[in-house]
Point group: C2
């Protein structure tokens, strides 16, 4: 038994005063590290607590507490009368502690697998969280009624039942489901029972619940092309066989899909307002799709993400309202009609599937916060939600007009601009059909203006080059100045001899 080793080593111990870590914790970690690194071995004797306290200039009680803790952990043994020894920990050579500095990870750098790299490559995270002009898909956060929302939240915090602070009932809070039923009845022509509704963590979670419940690895899923990036990448993440279907002026090209692709188990469509092209699916196309779903026993996922905002005619009723045989899964969201950070959406399903969806949700992430559900329910049931939608509809129409005017004024020589009839973005089509939209979009982005190239939404389709400009989130007073930046950046990129610069990956 080496009696000196422990003592000698211990006296080399130094505290890092600036580390912010308490003394006792530093001493504990130091001793553990010496043992794990093999510098102290089983049976080595440590200096007495009195000696060590003197050597290190700390209180004896601190040393005794550390010894006691390490004894409980098995690192040390105390034998009454004969001192403190290194315990009989597993004799194995541990690798050195993983360095905090990533550059020094060397051999221990964890290499992500091919699968992990493919997940990380999704374009769905491209500048996610940006609220800059002209970010598509973000509502007018500057005009959100924070005060009213905050008051509703405070009321729930003050007088809400304890149950709202726990996990909540699977599938959602009854009061919110009632509010959603009334909303979709009045705005989307949907008649459903409350127990057909599952409250989800945004629309995206609804898509994932549907896939986890209704398809298996290798199932064929038809997605629109161009289409919703996060939907198709989520389906890939879940190992579906995603087939891409173009969009014609009536919407989803069913005939193309029938001729070119194996039969689908799941069909994702955006009938009210095709994402991102903005086409409304015609009645005939809807009926054909429904007929096809019934005939072949497949499911239609109706993603109705921003149907609240229309500037010309009223919206067509939801496809779900035409569905006589229970093949439509309707997905709605509050991310556009209220704010994305609320993270609440809903799935309206044929009755037989609701239990499975609710259980799958529990397994994915437990339920949606019942506290937030209650705040939302009261905001909806007291009429604030409807008033907000009306206000935003008026606001977005005027922001759209300002954007159209600004882009025509400052970028009219590069872009064809038509006002959209619905939604929160418009597409500026490049006049020069051979121009590189990635170069143009990257130039605009470098000038500090967010926007997304149309091709980011495409997989197989090659469309006329275009750029998406979201107008909802930009304060009126900033729109014109921002379009001027767009015009200047495009002039530089498209007339400045930079055509040949390879675009940065988005």
């Amino acid at each position: 038994m080496t009696k000196q080793k422990g003592g000698a080593l211990m006296s080399t111990f130094r505290f890092a005063e600036s580390s912010g870590m308490p003394i006792y914790r530093q001493l504990e970690n130091g001793i553990r590290k010496m043992i794990l690194d093999g510098n102290l071995s089983a049976g080595d004797r440590l200096p007495s607590s009195r000696q060590l306290a003197t050597d290190l200039g700390i209180s004896r009680q601190t040393v005794k507490n550390v010894f006691e803790q390490l004894t409980i952990e098995g690192f040390l043994n105390s034998r009454r009368g004969s001192g403190t020894f290194v315990g009989d920990v597993a004799v194995m050579k541990l690798p050195p502690e993983m360095p905090r500095d990533r550059r020094r990870l060397n051999g221990y750098r964890v290499q992500p697998s091919k699968h992990a790299r493919a997940i990380a490559a999704t374009k769905a995270t491209t500048r996610l969280g940006s609220v800059a002009a002209f970010r598509p898909g973000v509502p007018a956060l500057d005009m959100f009624p924070r005060k009213a929302w905050s008051a509703a939240h405070s009321r729930v915090m003050r007088s809400g039942n304890d149950i709202l602070f726990s996990y909540g009932p699977p599938g959602g809070l009854p009061e919110l489901k009632r509010a959603i039923r009334l909303h979709v009845r009045d705005h989307r022509g949907i008649r459903c029972d409350e127990d057909q509704i599952v409250v989800t963590a945004g629309a995206q979670q609804a898509f994932v619940l549907i896939a986890l419940t209704l398809i298996k690895s290798g199932s064929v899923v038809w997605c629109e092309d161009p289409g919703h990036i996060a939907v198709r990448d989520a389906m890939r993440l879940l190992c579906a066989d995603v087939k891409h279907v173009p969009v014609d002026r009536h919407g989803f090209d069913l005939e193309y899909a029938r001729q070119r692709h194996p039969r689908a188990r799941l069909i994702f469509v955006t009938p009210s307002h095709q994402h991102p092209l903005g086409i409304t699916m015609s009645l005939n196309r809807r009926l054909e799709l429904l007929d096809s779903a019934q005939q072949h026993g497949c499911w239609i996922v109706e993603d109705d993400y921003d149907s609240e905002f229309r500037y010309a005619e009223r919206a067509l009723p939801a496809m779900q309202a035409l569905d006589g045989s229970g093949h439509v899964l309707y997905v709605g969201s509050f991310s556009k009609s209220l704010f994305p950070a609320l993270r609440i959406g809903y799935l309206i399903s044929p009755p037989g599937l609701v239990d499975a969806f609710a259980a799958a949700q529990t397994l994915l992430s437990q339920n949606v916060s019942p506290l937030q559900q209650q705040v939302l329910a009261s905001f909806m049931l007291d009429g604030s939600f409807n008033a907000h939608i009306r206000n935003m509809c008026t606001l977005y129409q005027s922001r759209r007009d300002l954007l159209v005017q600004g882009l025509r004024q400052h970028a009219g020589s590069f872009l064809d601009i038509e006002p959209c009839l619905a939604g929160m973005h418009l597409i500026g089509w490049l006049r020069d059909g051979t121009a590189n939209e990635l170069v143009a979009a990257e130039a605009i982005r470098s000038a500090g203006i967010d926007c997304l190239p149309l091709s980011i939404y495409c997989v197989e389709q090659v469309l006329r080059p275009g750029i998406l400009f979201g107008f909802a989130c930009v304060p009126d007073s900033e729109i014109n100045a921002a379009t001027r930046v767009v015009g200047a950046a495009m002039a530089d990129a498209l007339h400045g001899g930079r055509h040949n610069v390879p675009p940065r990956q988005h």
Copy 2:
């Protein structure tokens, strides 16, 4: 062209005044339904708007608006000077509208698949959301500092940046990641960079992200048995090959797993406080597990769900702190230390994998609400979180003592009760090892007291019968009375000749 049919039919139309649906919407739906049901055919002429308005006793403008909308939708055609006709919609026999009443669904009742039924059968949803005495796993919601939390929320609502209302940055808000880094450093001995942290929608989402990123269909996953129900069922949902590993007095039985099961890609453990048995994994067992993971290139998921609450010694540092080679994925949660409805947890990962985890999260449900993240960060950084944990530790210890005292007093002839040294529940072991714990637990539940039988956590293991009693969520003043109910219910169930009643499924 039948000129009369439309007119005659239309005059049979009746408004349902009590439906709460606006007149124009009822008329629209009525006409659509007549067309879709085949009662009105392409080319049928409708009465003039003037005539219909008179017949129905409504304003002519309302009728004109309805005709206009239905014309846009393709249901009607208006020919100037000659009237309004049913449009040329797809000629196909639609099934009758799906009845709202579930009992009348008949042929259209959607039958869930075997897969969907298996998902719905998870026991993870058993009375989920209950906060009644003695629900395991629910913190003291009655003592949660609602006022302080509400104030923090109001501050963020008042002065927070618009960016907090949008989707937020993938992986989490930097400020919250900083607060988490400090917390795990001080409480769990973990040293990590902030960019190794992914903020998740509770611990459950972290488990799912890990599986989606690191395993594929059919991969072997080792889970503790008894163990976390939602973890093993989530792994099954994702088509992993789950193998069940018993627990001995040192924790996860690695030797058993090695001898009986194929090598795992992922190992789920609860080293600080085995769920639900409460065992602390020994240092030797931890080192063996780490060694095994490094040798075979598998991943250890360290679920550290309630390590904050210990009533005897301090906690061992996290396994992650012993991990020299980057094979531990550490998962923490605020569901126990604050409240479940917050729905925030975190994953601490080796650096190379973080991008994939963050991207997978975006595809599952977008990010965690940045608004809630900001509220939590400020609650942590101003010291309120630490103070709350200290208060709860004292409170839970006294609630535990009251529970032990009450159960010994009222149910001591049925249950062996020992105070637990950590966590939020204890296990009452049935004195009669042949008694049916399901019968006992169901009797207690029928008497209005929540509790869970130990066997609900077991898959292959058959343990001495026991019942979990959570004490954290029960106000001090109610504990004794509730234990009296437990005692009476058990007396009735175990001595009342009901041994042979088959237990209800949980």
